[in-house]
C-alpha cells in the first residue's frame, strides 16, 4: 500500500516539474532571446541608461519615452479624479445605477482598439482644433481604454468597506464631502487606488494601436519606428518596458496579498 502511494507521489512530482519546465521554457525563451539579441551590440545597454546620449542619438525614442511616461501619469490622475468620486457617489446615492455604470465602464473591453480609433478620429479632429496635436491629448482616449480595469479595481476596493455607513458617520461628526473623500474613503481604498493606477500605467506604457493610428508618438510607436533602423536598441527598450510592467504587476499582487492578510487578521 505504502509503495503504491509513494509511486503515485513520485509520478505526480514528475508531472508537476514537467509542466513547470515546459511553461518556463515557453515564457523565458523569448526573454533570453531578447537579452541575447540586445547584447550583441555592446553599445546598446550603456546607451539606454545614459539619457542625454540616448536623446541625442535617438530623439524620437526619447520623445516616445517622455510622452508615454507623461501619458501614463496623467491618465492615472484623470482616471482617479473621474472614477473614484463617481464610484463612491453611485454607491452612496444612486445604487440602482451601479449595473449601468459598470456596463458602461466595461464597454471599452469589448470594443477592439481599431474600432475605437475609427470612432475617436472625428472627436480627435476637434481635440486637435482646441488643444493642438500634442501626444498628451491621447490621455483622453487612454482614460476610456483603462476604464474597465480601473473600475473593477476601485469597485472591489469599495466593496470591501461599508462606504455608506462610514460616510454617514463622518458626515454626522461634521465632515464635509471633501473631508469624507480625503480622510475617510481614500485611506480605506488605498490599495485599490494603487492597483487601478498601476494597471493604468502598465496599459498606457504598452499601448500602440491608438497612438499609431491617430499619428501620435509614444513609447511603442517609437519602438516600432526604431525597429526599422536599430533593431538591437528597439529590442532592448521593449525588454525594459516589459520588465517595468512585470515589476508593476508584481507590486500589484503584493498589495493584493497584503490586503488579504490584513483582512484575515480581522
Amino acid at each position: 500500500m505504502a509503495g503504491v502511494i509513494a509511486r503515485r507521489a513520485r509520478k505526480q512530482r514528475i508531472f508537476r516539474w514537467t509542466v513547470l519546465i515546459v511553461l518556463g521554457v515557453f515564457f523565458v525563451l523569448p526573454f533570453v532571446a531578447m537579452v541575447e539579441f540586445s547584447t550583441r551590440d555592446s553599445q546598446t545597454w550603456p546607451l539606454l541608461v545614459d539619457w542625454p546620449a540616448l536623446s541625442e542619438r535617438y530623439p524620437a525614442l526619447a520623445e516616445g519615452i517622455t510622452n508615454s511616461l507623461l501619458q501614463a501619469a496623467l491618465t492615472a490622475l484623470l482616471m482617479l479624479v473621474l472614477l473614484v468620486p463617481t464610484a463612491v457617489w453611485v454607491r452612496l446615492r444612486l445604487p440602482r445605477l451601479r449595473r449601468l455604470v459598470e456596463f458602461i465602464c466595461l464597454l471599452p473591453l469589448t470594443i477592439p482598439a481599431i474600432v475605437l480609433v475609427v470612432g475617436l478620429a472625428p472627436v480627435y479632429a476637434w481635440v486637435t482644433y482646441f488643444l493642438g496635436g500634442s501626444s498628451l491629448t491621447l490621455v483622453f482616449a487612454y482614460t476610456v481604454l483603462v476604464l474597465p480595469y480601473a473600475y473593477r479595481a476601485i469597485d472591489a476596493g469599495l466593496s470591501a468597506i461599508d462606504v455608506k455607513t462610514l460616510a454617514e458617520a463622518a458626515r454626522s461628526l461634521g465632515a464635509g464631502w471633501g473631508t469624507v473623500m480625503w480622510r475617510v474613503v481614500l485611506p480605506n481604498i488605498r490599495s485599490a487606488v494603487l492597483s487601478a493606477a498601476f494597471l493604468t500605467v502598465a496599459l498606457v506604457l504598452g499601448e500602440f494601436t491608438i497612438a499609431s493610428l491617430l499619428n501620435r508618438t509614444n513609447l511603442q510607436v517609437a519602438i516600432n519606428f526604431l525597429g526599422k533602423s536599430s533593431a538591437t536598441m528597439s529590442v532592448a527598450v521593449s525588454l525594459t518596458s516589459l520588465l517595468l510592467a512585470f515589476v508593476l504587476l508584481l507590486l500589484l499582487s503584493l498589495l493584493g496579498g497584503r490586503r488579504r492578510t490584513s483582512k484575515e487578521s480581522s
Binding site: 455607513t165 462610514l166 454626522s172 461634521g174 480605506n188
Partner: protein
C-alpha cells in the same frame, strides 16, 4: 451639560407607495432619553435619519433647540450618531476615531478629550487598537465615545446593540443609560427590541406605519397600552375570547376591567402571561401542554377548552406542572386591552 429640546413636526416621507413617515409628530424634552420602538419598516429609523439630516423629509419641520434645522446638511446639525453597522474608520485607531470629530472642529487638546471619552465608556486601555482588533461590543463603545466626544446637542442611536450577542447587549444597554444620565444629552434611541426600549428610555414611542401609536413612560406603555397594536407589540399577549358585561369583560370566567370601551359584546382580550395564574388541581378545566424553562421564571402553555393560554410561573413551581397535569387557570384582575 444640559440637553436641548427636539421637535419633529408633521414629518412626511414616502418611498414609492410606502409612507415611511406619515405626519409624524414627536416632541422630546431637553435631556430626555426617548426610545422609538416598532416592527421593521414602521419608519423609526427614517425618523432618526431625518433628524440626523441623512435623509430628507418630503414635508414637515425638524426643530432643535427651537431652531428649524430642516435645511441644514448632516455635517452642520451637531448630532452624534451611533450606527447599527460597525462604523469605526478602519484605518484609524480607537483614539483617532474618537478625536476625528474634534479635530474637524479645530479643538485644541482633542487627544486628551478623546482619551477621557474612551475612559468614560470603559475602554481607555484599548485606545491604540485598530477597529479590527476590537470585539463588536468594544467597537460600539468606541462609536459611542466618538459620538459623545463632539458634545452633540442630540445623541442618535440607530439600533446600536442589535449586532451584539445577548450578554454584551444587556451590559452595553445599561452603560448607555448610565452615560446618558451622566452627560445629560437629549437622546433618541431606535430599536425593535422592546426589552431594550423599556429598560433604558424615559419615554417610549411605539411606531406603526409611520405614525406614533403611543408615547409614554415604559410602565404606562406596558400596563396601559393605548391601542391593541401597542398591547400586542409590547410584551407577549394571549388572545382570548371574552364577553362584555357592563363595564367589564369576562374572560375564562373572570371579570376584568377594560382599558377602552368595547365596540361589540364579544371581543378578543389581550392578557399578559404574568396575569395568568396556573394551579395544579385535579378538578381544573385546563391541562398543561408544554413547559419551557427560561431561568428564574418559566413559561407554561395550558389548553383550556379550545384555547391555548400561556402563563408565566416561578421556575420552582415547574415540578408540579408537568405536561398532562390538570390545572385551574385564573386571571389577575388587571385592566385589559381589547384587540
Amino acid at each position: 451639560m444640559t440637553g436641548v429640546a427636539v421637535h419633529l413636526k408633521g414629518l412626511r416621507r414616502s418611498f414609492g407607495p410606502t409612507h415611511a413617515l406619515d405626519n409624524l409628530d414627536l416632541a422630546i424634552e431637553p435631556g430626555e432619553f426617548i426610545a422609538l420602538l416598532g416592527p421593521s419598516g414602521c419608519g423609526k429609523t427614517t425618523a432618526l435619519r431625518v433628524l440626523a439630516g441623512l435623509e430628507d423629509a418630503d414635508s414637515g419641520e425638524v426643530l432643535v433647540g427651537g431652531k428649524d434645522v430642516s435645511s441644514l446638511p448632516a455635517n452642520r446639525r451637531d448630532m452624534g450618531m451611533v450606527f447599527q453597522a460597525y462604523s469605526l474608520f478602519p484605518h484609524l485607531t480607537a483614539l483617532a476615531n474618537v478625536s476625528f470629530g474634534l479635530s474637524l472642529r479645530g479643538r485644541t487638546k482633542s487627544l486628551t478629550r478623546a482619551r477621557e471619552m474612551l475612559e468614560l465608556v470603559g475602554i481607555g486601555q484599548f485606545a491604540d487598537r485598530y477597529p479590527h482588533q476590537l470585539s463588536g461590543g468594544q467597537q460600539q463603545r468606541v462609536a459611542l465615545a466618538r459620538a459623545l466626544a463632539i458634545e452633540p446637542s442630540v445623541l442618535l442611536l440607530d439600533e446600536p446593540l442589535s449586532a451584539l450577542d445577548a450578554k454584551v447587549r444587556v451590559q452595553l444597554r445599561d452603560e448607555i443609560k448610565r452615560i446618558q444620565t451622566e452627560v445629560g444629552t437629549t437622546t433618541l434611541f431606535v430599536t425593535h427590541d422592546q426589552e431594550e426600549a423599556l429598560a433604558v428610555a424615559d419615554r417610549v414611542g411605539v411606531m406603526r406605519a409611520g405614525k406614533l401609536e403611543q408615547l409614554a413612560a415604559p410602565a404606562d406603555i406596558y400596563l396601559t397600552p393605548a391601542t391593541p397594536f401597542v398591547a400586542e407589540f409590547v410584551g407577549l399577549s394571549n388572545r382570548l375570547p371574552g364577553t362584555v358585561v357592563g363595564n367589564e369583560v369576562e374572560v375564562l370566567g373572570t371579570r376584568l376591567p377594560m382599558l377602552s370601551p368595547a365596540s361589540s359584546p364579544s371581543v378578543t382580550a389581550l392578557i399578559r402571561p404574568e396575569s395568568v395564574q396556573v394551579t395544579a388541581d385535579p378538578e381544573g378545566s385546563g391541562r398543561v401542554l408544554t413547559t419551557s424553562f427560561l431561568g428564574a421564571i418559566s413559561k407554561v402553555t395550558v389548553s383550556v377548552g379550545d384555547e391555548l393560554v400561556v402563563a408565566q410561573v416561578a421556575t420552582d413551581r415547574l415540578a408540579s406542572l408537568a405536561p398532562g397535569t390538570p390545572v385551574r387557570v385564573t386571571l389577575q384582575p388587571n385592566p385589559v386591552a381589547l384587540a
